[in-house]
């Protein structure tokens, strides 16, 4: 991780197009998730412009669903924003985890590519970087793909959502979980990483049970990170 070759943090049209293409299959799942959101939002009484603006500008599914829970004639702004922040706080960790590579980009690009950072494209770009492959095409191009399908799916959901009355019955609530698990399990598995994951998992579960809602991701990630520091250098880098 100390000497990063320049080719790793290239970002050109071809890489962005390639990243876009690589995320299209996942984006199709996202499309259906967005469809469920469009439908739920319309049923909660939001008008089309508001729903589409929310999907386009917020672009963070779980927090948008949570906003619907608080929706009415009036919305309590502070609780809403605290909920949105808590659910999306994992983006903070995503940005930090990509920082060693992001630091090599000029600031405009560095923050530009993070505009569309989301679970799937972040995980794929991080995996690419850790295999010494360029990852910013996946992050930005893949993010554009996810964004486009998220918006399209939202629109479809507003107009044709009733076709899917029970997204959970089709297993669509498991898209994100299965995707993230496939990312984790596809990576390196040493005793060291397993120890880190065990600490992360157990602390996340404890936080989920005993700490305020939505704190478990932060708690688990920080505990895992600290375990990494305590365990010291990975065996293969010794």
């Amino acid at each position: 991780m100390n000497d990063i070759p320049a080719s790793l943090y290239r970002l050109n049209r071809a890489l962005v197009m390639d990243g876009f293409r690589q995320l299209v299959p996942i984006s199709l799942f996202v499309l259906v998730f967005a469809l469920a959101f469009g439908l739920a939002a319309a049923q909660s009484g939001l008008d089309q412009t508001t729903i589409l603006a929310m999907s386009a500008l917020v672009f963070a599914g779980a927090s948008q669903f949570a906003a619907l829970e608080l929706w009415g004639e009036q919305v309590p702004l502070v609780p809403l924003l605290m909920t949105v922040f808590a659910i999306n706080a994992r983006h903070l960790l995503m940005g930090a985890s990509l920082y060693p590579w992001l630091a090599r980009l000029p600031p405009a690009r560095r923050y530009g590519v993070m505009l569309v950072a989301s679970d799937a494209n972040w995980a794929m770009s991080l995996q690419a970087f850790s295999c010494d492959k360029p990852g910013f095409g996946l992050l930005f191009g893949g993010g554009l793909s996810l964004w486009l399908f998220w918006l399209l799916g939202t629109w479809l959901g507003i107009h044709f959502g009733h076709a899917i009355s029970d997204p959970d019955g089709l297993g669509l609530d498991m898209v994100l979980g299965c995707f993230l698990l496939a990312m984790v399990a596809g990576g390196e598995k040493t005793l060291r990483t397993l120890a880190i994951w065990a600490v992360a998992g157990i602390s996340a579960l404890l936080a989920y049970r005993f700490l305020p809602e939505n704190s478990h991701v932060i708690v688990g990630a920080l505990a895992g990170g600290l375990t990494g520091v305590l365990l010291g250098r990975p065996a293969h880098e010794r």
Partner: protein, 103 residues
Amino acid sequence: MNVETSGTGLVIIIAAMALVTLATRWGGVFVMSFVPLGYRVRLFIQAMSGSVLIAIIAPMALEGDMAARLALLTTLVVILLTRKQLLAIAAGILVAAMVRQLG
């Protein structure tokens, strides 16, 4: 503070949600630009990146219904056996759907 869900109220709500979310997308990068990337910080970031995923998944596995658990188990088995990501995800979702339709 309650905001009306009409007219300018809507603009305020959507803009505020968008800004808070943007702050999470930019904040981690911004903070890290003040932290020297030393040895311990690198170890921390590296260990944290996988832990984020684990921390998101763990409650789904433990607190979820049988369909959710079997879906995750299926994805895990398929990815370990085949290393094919999309196949593993599709298999997991299919299992969740089947369990819920039958259950």
